[in-house]
C-alpha cells in the first residue's frame, strides 16, 4: 500500500544503543526490515526484544544511533510521530485495550481521533475489522473485561488494523494462548498480511509461529542482532543460543512437523 516497492527496507535501525542506568541492553544494534514480509524477532528472555519494539514505535528514545520507520524518525517528529501513527498498528503483549470503552469503541477510536471518521461509516468499518479478525459482531458490545484471552488479542489486532496500517508491530502475539488458539491466530495473521499487504514485525517465543509464518527472522543476543535473514540461514548459524533454541528437542520436533507437511 506504500509507494515503497516490495522487499525494500521499511525499517532501518542503525548503531542503536539502549541503556537503563548502567544496564546496557542494546549496543551497536543494526537491523533492516523488508516490506511485505513477516519478520520474527527472537532471543532469550531479557535480551531487549520489547525494548527494541518500544524504540521502534517511538515509546523509548535511544541513547545513541538512529531508527527510521518508512524513512521517518519516530522521535524527531514534534507531535510524537503522529504521522506514523496512521501508518502503523501496534499490538501490545496484553492487548492494552481501553478498559472503559466497549470493543467497538476501542476499534473506532483511532478512526475518529486520527481521521475524523465517525457515525455509521465508522461503525461499519469497525464491524468489518471484527469480521476480519474472525470475531462475531455481537462481541462489539462487550467490555474488554468480559473477553477471554484469545478474544482480547483478536480485538487488539482489530484495533491495530483500524487504520489499515502499513506496518504491524506485535509483541508476543501468541503467548498466553492455547496451542490451537495460537495456531489459529498465526493463520489469521498470515492470511491478513497476505490479503492486506501489511509488513509485520513480530516478537515471538513460539517456534511454531517462527516456522510457519515468519518469512525472515532476526536473532537478538549480546545486545546485537547476531544474525538475520531466511530461516535456513539462521538454522545453520553457529551460535550456542541459536543452536540450543532451534536444535533442542522442541525445535527438532517442530522442524520435523513442518517438513512432513
Amino acid at each position: 500500500m506504500t509507494d515503497i516497492p516490495a522487499n525494500q527496507a521499511i525499517i532501518v535501525v542503525e548503531n542503536l544503543r539502549s541503556q537503563f542506568g548502567t544496564n546496557l541492553v542494546h549496543d551497536d544494534l543494526n537491523l533492516t526490515i523488508e516490506k511485505g514480509v513477516i519478520t520474527g524477532i527472537v532471543g532469550g528472555s531479557g535480551t531487549g526484544k520489547s525494548v527494541l519494539l518500544r524504540t521502534m514505535t517511538g515509546l523509548k528514545k535511544p541513547e545513541a544511533g538512529s531508527v527510521k520507520i518508512l524513512g521517518v524518525n519516530p522521535f524527531s517528529e514534534t507531535k510524537g510521530g503522529l504521522g506514523l501513527a496512521r501508518k502503523w498498528g501496534v499490538l501490545f503483549q496484553d492487548g492494552a485495550l481501553f478498559s472503559s470503552l466497549s470493543v467497538l469503541d476501542n476499534i473506532r477510536l483511532p478512526m475518529k481521533e486520527q481521521l475524523g471518521i465517525h457515525g455509521q461509516f465508522a461503525q461499519e468499518l469497525a464491524y468489518m475489522k471484527l469480521f476480519l479478525v474472525g470475531l462475531d459482531w455481537t462481541v462489539g458490545q462487550l467490555m474488554p473485561s468480559e473477553l477471554s484471552g484469545g478474544m482480547r488479542k483478536r480485538v487488539a489486532l482489530a484495533r491495530a488494523l483500524a487504520l489499515d496500517p502499513e506496518i504491524l508491530f506485535l509483541d508476543e502475539p501468541t503467548s498466553g494462548l492455547d496451542p490451537i488458539g495460537a495456531e489459529k491466530f498465526d493463520e489469521l495473521l498470515l492470511e491478513l498480511t497476505h490479503a492486506l499487504g501489511i509488513s509485520v514485525v513480530m516478537i515471538t517465543h513460539d517456534l511454531d509461529s517462527i516456522f510457519k509464518i515468519c518469512g525472515n527472522v532476526a536473532v537478538l543476543a549480546d545486545g546485537k542482532v547476531i544474525v538475520d535473514g531466511k530461516l535456513d540461514k539462521i538454522l545453520k548459524f553457529d551460535h550456542p543460543w541459536v543452536q540450543e533454541y532451534f536444535g533442542g528437542a522442541r525445535g527438532r520436533q517442530v522442524q520435523a512437523q513442518q517438513q512432513n507437511k
Partner: protein, 397 residues
C-alpha cells in the same frame, strides 16, 4: 434514447471529486474511481460520494446499469472494499458491475466476501426518560442503604483481624505499618499546617472584629482556642486525610485488584485483611492524632498571628488566654475522636478499593466514592461524639 432526453433533461450530468467521477448517461451510470482509495481519503469524501450516488440513482425511474471502474485507482485498502459493498447494496435491483479493479482489491473483497453489512446492529445510545431517572434514583437509594449495611460486616472482619494479631503479634506487618505512618504523616504536615493556620486566622478575625465593638477582643483567645481544639482542627485534619489518604488507599488497593494481585494474595494464602488493611489501620491510628495535634497548634498559631497583627495582642497574652480557656480535657475530646475516624476511613477506603473491577472507570468511581464517604464519616463521627460528650457532660463542661 430520445425519450429520456425529452422528459428528463437533467439526466446528463457529471459529478466529480478527487477520488471519483459519476457520469450519468442514458440508462447507465459510469462511476470512475481514481487516486488513493484508502481510509484517510475515503473518510473525507464518504458522505459526498453517497449524496452524489443517491442523486444519480434517484433520477432514473427504471432499471439502470451501474458500472464502477477502478482503472485509475493507485492503492486500495479494506475501507475501499466496504465502500464498494455499500454502493452495491444501495443500488438494489440494479446491475452493479465492477470493471478493472486492481488485484489487491479483488483479494481483499474475497477475504471480506462473507461480511454482511446489512446485519442489523443494535443502536447504542439510550434515551433517558423520567422513568429511567426514577429507576436511577431508586438504585442510588438502595446503594446508600447497602453501603450503610455493610459497615458492621467490615467492623466484624476488622475485629477478627485484631484478635488474630493479639494472638499472634509476630505476624503483624510492622515494617509496612511504619512505611504507611511515614507516608500518611510527613507529606501531609505542610498542608494540615497551612489549612489550619489560615482557618484559625480567619475565624479569629470574624470573632474578634465583632467582639472589638464592645472592646472585648481579649476574650477571643479562650473562645477561639476552645473551638480550634475541640472542633475545627479535627474536622479540617479529618477532611484532609479523607482527601489524601482515603483516595490513595482506594487507588492502591483498586489497582492491585485490577492487576489480579489481590487474587494472587488469596491463592498464596495471605489474608488480605491482615496483610493490607491492618497495617494501614494501625498506621492511621497513629498518624491521625499526630496530624490533629499539629492542626491544633497551627490553628493557635494562625489565631495568635492575626491577633498580633490586627489587634496588637501580644503572644504572652495569647498564651495566657489559651491556658485559661483550654483544658487538657478539650484536647482529649478532640483526640478521642481520632481512632474512630481513623478506623472507619481506612476500612471504607480499603473496602471501596476491593470493589474495583477491571476497568479504569471503575477505579475512578470507587476512589471518588471513598473520598465522599470519608468526608461524610468524618463529619458524622465528629457530630455523634460531640453530642455524646455534651449530653453526658463527661469531659469538661
Amino acid at each position: 434514447m430520445l425519450y429520456n432526453c425529452h422528459i428528463y433533461p437533467l439526466i446528463q450530468g457529471l459529478m466529480k471529486s478527487d477520488l471519483y467521477s459519476i457520469i450519468v448517461e442514458n440508462n447507465r451510470i459510469n462511476i470512475a474511481l481514481f487516486g488513493r482509495w484508502t481510509l484517510a481519503h475515503i473518510g473525507a469524501i464518504e458522505r459526498q460520494l453517497f449524496k452524489d450516488y443517491k442523486l444519480a440513482l434517484g433520477r432514473k425511474p427504471y432499471k439502470l446499469n451501474v458500472i464502477i471502474s477502478g482503472r485509475g485507482i493507485d492503492i486500495v485498502d479494506t475501507s475501499a472494499v466496504l465502500m464498494i459493498k455499500k454502493m452495491q447494496i444501495f443500488a438494489t435491483d440494479m446491475d452493479v458491475e465492477l470493471a478493472d479493479m486492481p488485484d489487491e482489491f479483488n483479494s481483499l473483497s474475497l477475504k471480506l466476501a462473507d461480511f454482511d453489512i446489512t446485519q442489523k446492529h443494535p443502536k447504542q445510545s439510550k434515551i433517558r426518560g423520567p422513568l429511567d431517572m426514577l429507576e436511577a434514583f431508586g438504585k442510588a437509594c438502595l446503594r446508600s442503604y447497602r453501603a450503610f449495611a455493610e459497615t458492621p460486616q467490615l467492623l466484624g472482619l476488622f475485629l477478627m483481624a485484631i484478635l488474630h494479631t493479639l494472638r499472634k503479634p509476630f505476624e503483624f506487618r510492622f515494617t509496612s505499618m511504619v512505611y504507611h505512618i511515614q507516608y500518611m504523616t510527613i507529606p501531609a504536615i505542610a498542608i494540615v499546617f497551612a489549612v489550619s493556620f489560615m482557618v484559625g486566622a480567619v475565624l479569629t478575625e470574624q470573632v474578634a472584629w465583632r467582639l472589638s465593638i464592645f472592646g472585648a477582643e481579649e476574650y477571643v483567645v479562650g473562645f477561639i482556642g476552645m473551638v480550634t481544639t475541640r472542633e475545627t482542627s479535627i474536622l479540617l485534619t479529618g477532611m484532609l486525610i479523607a482527601g489524601r489518604s482515603s483516595s490513595s488507599i482506594t487507588a492502591e488497593i483498586g489497582s492491585m485488584r485490577m492487576n489480579e494481585e489481590i487474587d494472587a494474595m488469596k491463592v498464596i494464602g495471605l489474608d488480605v485483611m491482615r496483610f493490607l488493611v491492618m497495617p494501614r489501620v494501625m498506621a492511621m491510628l497513629i498518624a491521625f492524632p499526630i496530624l490533629t495535634v499539629i492542626g491544633i497548634f497551627a490553628g493557635y498559631a494562625g489565631s495568635a498571628f492575626l491577633l498580633y497583627v490586627r489587634y496588637d495582642i501580644g503572644l504572652s497574652v495569647f498564651i495566657d488566654g489559651i491556658y485559661d480557656g483550654v483544658t487538657i480535657y478539650d484536647i482529649g475530646t478532640a483526640l478521642v475522636k481520632t481512632p474512630f475516624m481513623a478506623v472507619m476511613l481506612v476500612l471504607v477506603a480499603c473496602n471501596e478499593g476491593m470493589k474495583v473491577q477491571s476497568n479504569a472507570a471503575s477505579l475512578g468511581y470507587h476512589t471518588t466514592v471513598s473520598v465522599v464517604k470519608g468526608l461524610f464519616l468524618v463529619i458524622i463521627i465528629d457530630a455523634i461524639i460531640a453530642i455524646y460528650f455534651t449530653q453526658v457532660n463527661l469531659l469538661g463542661s
